[in-house]
């Protein structure tokens, strides 16, 4: 597939995203209403509650979903390229367990700093977990990636045990933990958008600028280094930036699975391994996928809201199996 075709596909993905976002503005009350959509452009004619619904509940939710979907898919693509391993997802370094432990600590300790308590705790713990794994996986000045994967797995297990313990001790607060871990955009607010946005604005360009290095990694670390790539620095920066993006996502919307794992693979099947197109394509497809998953989560059983993390896993698992069977040729 030549580059013009790939660029066309990315353009199509962007268009799909924009259309989906516009469509989602009209989704509420369990169905799509054009009137809702049009009201967005005539805010003065709305009552206070209608305005609140559109601009303070729906719009931030839409934006947050898009940001998180993009962050997770992009991080998944980058980590898969870095680790040269197709089974890697954004939580490979224990970020999700770290974030969960942070949330549990916040819940159990009863500390209250207002509404940022849970997100703040989970963000700090998620990042701390990553640093712990990176530290454990370091040997001298080098970061052998296989060791890091193992460290991530080990920490993940340990934290899972802590999580179980936390849930056991939770008592009446059990439901809070369970909801947090299911992942969802139910309480999306502009506050959450504002916390995630700076991470995004800083992180995304950095990640994109390393597309060529990631391509070089495809040939193997040794070859990449012989071509002038600063392998250790590349690993450090990419791991750090993706950790920030994923920790940020986890802290505002809990643990949402499959998006970061499956979306890059879908793109690889269509476009190939070139990160210069793989990264932006994953970015746009991921945001659309999560956006639609969220649309379903708020309309399927309206007015009951399903947790979007459950939906993505339910949708993702069979699709992933389908992909595996198709791509027997291997990575």
């Amino acid at each position: 597939m030549n580059i013009a075709k790939k660029r066309l596909i990315i353009l199509i993905l962007i268009i799909i995203l924009i259309l989906s976002m516009i469509f989602s503005l009209g989704i509420g009350g369990g169905r799509f209403q054009v009137s809702d959509l049009l009201s967005f452009f005539q805010p003065s004619s709305l009552s206070l509650s209608e305005k609140t619904i559109l601009f303070e509940i729906r719009l931030p939710r839409l934006i947050l979903t898009v940001l998180v979907g993009a962050a997770l898919s992009l991080s998944g693509a980058v980590l898969q390229g870095l680790f040269q391993n197709p089974l890697v997802d954004p939580y490979v370094l224990g970020i999700s367990s770290g974030g969960a432990v942070g949330a549990i600590v916040a819940i159990l300790s009863g500390i209250s700093l207002g509404f940022i308590t849970l997100p703040l705790f989970s963000f700090i713990f998620a990042l701390a977990t990553t640093f712990l794994v990176l530290r454990l996986g370091k040997i001298g000045t080098k970061m052998p990636l296989e060791i890091m994967l193992l460290a991530g797995v080990a920490i993940g297990f340990f934290f899972s045990a802590l999580i179980s313990l936390g849930m056991f001790l939770a008592g009446e607060n059990l439901h809070q933990m369970v909801f947090w871990m299911m992942g969802g955009f139910w309480n999306s607010s502009w506050n959450k958008v504002i916390t995630l946005l700076p991470l995004f604005i800083i992180g995304i360009p950095i990640v994109f600028s390393y597309s060529r290095e990631l391509n070089a990694f495809l040939l193997g670390e040794k070859v990449a280094e012989s071509m002038g790539v600063d392998v250790e620095k590349t690993k450090k920066i990419l791991l750090l930036v993706t950790s920030l993006l994923v920790a940020g996502s986890v802290s505002v919307s809990g643990v949402i699975g499959f998006v970061g794992l499956v979306v890059p693979h879908i793109i690889r099947i269509i476009i190939g391994d070139d990160h210069r197109q793989l990264l932006p394509a994953s970015f746009f497809l991921g945001s659309s996928v999560l956006l639609w998953a969220d649309i379903f989560s708020r309309t399927l059983l309206h007015p009951v809201e399903l947790p979007v993390g459950v939906l993505t896993s339910l949708m993702g698992a069979p699709f992933f199996i389908y992909l595996l069977r198709r791509k027997k040729k291997g990575w």
Binding site: G29, S49, I57, S112, E172, W180, W186, N187, P303, V304
Partner: protein, 307 residues
């Protein structure tokens, strides 16, 4: 001479036979699982597996017969001094056995496997699973029969029914349009409320209100937008137990920007209700209903002033 003999023998026979007859008649009732428990004599060593059941036992005057309760049983305060057999979901079976109970009251919160195990061990376990006020009253009656305190039981049941009727008599008369929309919030992240088939729903409806979430079954999440769309005029908030001074949930409802357009928030009709009070199937359900009635129709029932 012979007549006196016949009458005395007759009297002696009655005196001897009647206790025998009364003692051989079993105390029996059928529980929520369809299991019929029969006791040959009133229990002296009762274990409660839920706070609601503990309240029932105390209310029936059986406090001295209670030998074991859960760690959550805190009402009345004397319950705190009783022997603990675990919490509501993790029950120490060995402890139960050592306490040699002759009646165990399980609830809908008790895990199935635990109840099965208790049955297997041939222990006298009676499971209460009520979902409405009427069912609670029925359960109280059953427990009083099983425990051989039918008299106090009937008295309590009558009081409860009377108080219930007092309230419903008044609220039945309220026309539909004048029934305020009430939203009961249990948690904010995600928004968790109580739909139809819950106690809360009964409280709201019997108290002359309309549950904003009545189209939802049971306890469930609800789309944030719906709260704004349905615009309740009253919001009841569960009070956090012991965790924070400033109740997080109450703060959320009263200060979050997005809720400022809701009538209940605008008119400052956001009320804290004790979470135990509104979720325990026990004798205080009527008190809970009274509170809801005061919250929803203070003009009829007076100001809501919880103790």
């Amino acid at each position: 001479m012979s007549k006196i003999w016949i009458i005395s023998i007759f009297i002696i026979m009655i005196l001897v036979i009647s206790p025998i007859i009364s003692y051989s008649q079993p105390l029996s009732a059928t529980d929520a699982t369809g299991f019929t428990l029969s006791l040959s004599q009133p229990p002296n060593r009762i274990i409660s597996l839920s706070p609601g059941n503990t309240e029932i036992l105390f209310a029936l005057g059986l406090k001295d017969k209670i030998v074991g309760v859960t760690t959550y049983c805190d009402e009345p305060p004397e319950a705190l001094e009783k022997e603990k057999i675990g919490n509501v979901t993790e029950i120490d079976l060995e402890k139960i056995l050592t306490l040699q109970p002759d009646l165990i009251l399980a609830s809908s919160l008790t895990p199935e496997e635990t109840i099965d195990r208790l049955h297997e061990l041939n222990l006298p376990v009676f499971t209460l699973k009520s979902e409405t006020i009427d069912q609670v009253i029925e359960d109280i009656a059953k427990v009083s029969v099983l425990s051989g305190v039918e008299l106090s039981g009937s008295a309590l049941v009558k009081t409860m029914k009377d108080n219930l009727k007092k309230i419903t008599d008044l609220t039945q008369l309220i026309p539909n349009q004048q029934k305020p929309l009430v939203f009961h919030i249990i948690w904010h992240d995600p928004i968790w409320t109580a739909g139809s088939g819950t106690f809360i729903n009964e409280f709201i409806t019997f108290a002359g209100g309309k549950n904003v979430a009545e189209d939802i079954q049971g306890y469930s999440t609800i789309d944030f937008e719906e709260i704004l769309r349905r615009n309740p005029s009253i919001i009841t908030v569960i009070k956090d137990h012991g965790k924070n001074e400033e109740n997080q949930l109450y703060q959320f409802v009263t200060t979050d920007n997005r809720l400022r357009s809701v009538t209940a928030v605008k008119n400052n009709r956001v009320y804290l209700v004790d979470s135990n009070l509104v979720s325990r199937p026990g004798p205080r359900v009527i008190l809970a209903l009274q509170y809801f009635a005061q919250i929803i129709h203070p003009e009829i029932f007076g100001e809501y002033q919880p103790k």
